[in-house]
């Protein structure tokens, strides 16, 4: 499994806003463990309830916002998630649902960035996007904040997977 929790970037306003989508699928193994059926079919048993873990929705927003922050300086900085300032989700997402992540930069500096994020859900056959949560994050530029420690020169944060994602979304990824 690749650690990619967004499928496509659908909008990018450099240094301002990035919108990405994630299609939730039953082919994702973890959905079968989150949550499996318990206790058989009789009384006390519970049918399986495949829902996307909230922690992975948070990761999806972190990747959305992280790309936005990384893009701001041409992916030169190693952008690391440093703080979850706020995370609220009001309902779950299941197979067939599509998640929309909109990340907006609030502050950007040499040391890092803070972002605000809205999570929306599109249900198949539903009436469009409806907000299901807010996730505000802080990112640190790794090389600027670790008291002079040095890290590998190549940008291991934005790996080949991210470059592929950007390229297939029509965003230049020649870094």
């Amino acid at each position: 499994m690749r650690w990619m929790w967004i499928d496509r970037v659908v909008e990018l306003v450099p240094r301002e806003r990035l919108v990405a989508i994630k299609n939730v699928s039953l082919a994702e193994e973890h959905l079968h463990d989150h949550f499996p059926a318990t206790g058989g079919a009789g009384i006390g048993g519970r049918a399986a309830m495949p829902i996307m873990p909230a922690s992975l929705i948070l990761e999806g927003m972190a990747q959305t916002a992280g790309i936005l922050v990384g893009h701001a300086d041409g992916f030169k900085e190693k952008v690391i998630l440093a703080k979850v300032s706020r995370a609220e989700l009001t309902r779950e997402a299941g197979p067939g649902d599509q998640l929309w992540y909109t990340a907006t930069i609030r502050t950007l500096s040499g040391a890092g960035a803070s972002t605000e994020g809205v999570v929306e859900l599109v249900e198949p056959g539903g009436s469009g996007r409806s907000e299901i949560g807010r996730i505000d994050l802080m990112f640190s530029h790794l090389d600027q904040n670790m008291a002079g420690q040095s890290f590998p020169e190549h940008n291991f944060v934005f790996s080949e997977g991210f470059r592929t994602l950007l390229r297939t979304s029509g965003v230049a990824a020649d870094f």
Binding site: A82, K83, S114, M138, Q144, N145, A147
Partner: protein, 128 residues
């Protein structure tokens, strides 16, 4: 903007950044020791102060960074005379007289209080 008004805004920022109760944010509360801030929270507080007051804060302007890694300023975990002079010049919002005789570098956290931040913001606003 008066000092009380600045204090109120600083308190709002700290409540938001550190998820602490308003009554915990007293003038002499230590940002790290009492309010539980970690290093990334310092950057968060910096961002939020910038937004609240509309000034820019350079890296290492609010809380000492570069000085601490310089062997000329810090030796064996203690701040040298030269280091202390440098800190006093760069960080006028800190009250270094409270640092204590041992001048331990870790003691800086102990004198970084809500009051320090209020003084910092007041000086920034006056300089603007």
């Amino acid at each position: 903007m008066g000092r009380d008004e600045i204090f109120d805004t600083v308190r709002e920022v700290l409540v938001d950044a550190l998820a602490v109760d308003e009554d915990e944010v007293t003038a002499d509360a230590k940002i790290m020791g009492d309010l539980g801030a970690e290093s990334i929270d310092i950057l968060d507080i910096q961002f939020k102060l910038e937004q609240a007051f509309g000034f820019k804060i350079a890296q290492g302007e609010m809380f000492p960074e570069g000085v601490m890694q310089d062997p000329e300023y810090v030796q064996d975990g203690k701040i040298t005379d030269k280091g202390l002079d440098e800190l006093k010049a760069k960080m006028p919002h800190f009250d270094f007289s409270k640092l204590g005789g041992d001048r331990s570098v870790t003691g800086i956290g102990g004198i970084f209080t809500v009051d320090t931040l209020v003084s910092f913001c007041q000086q920034k606003l006056q300089a603007a």
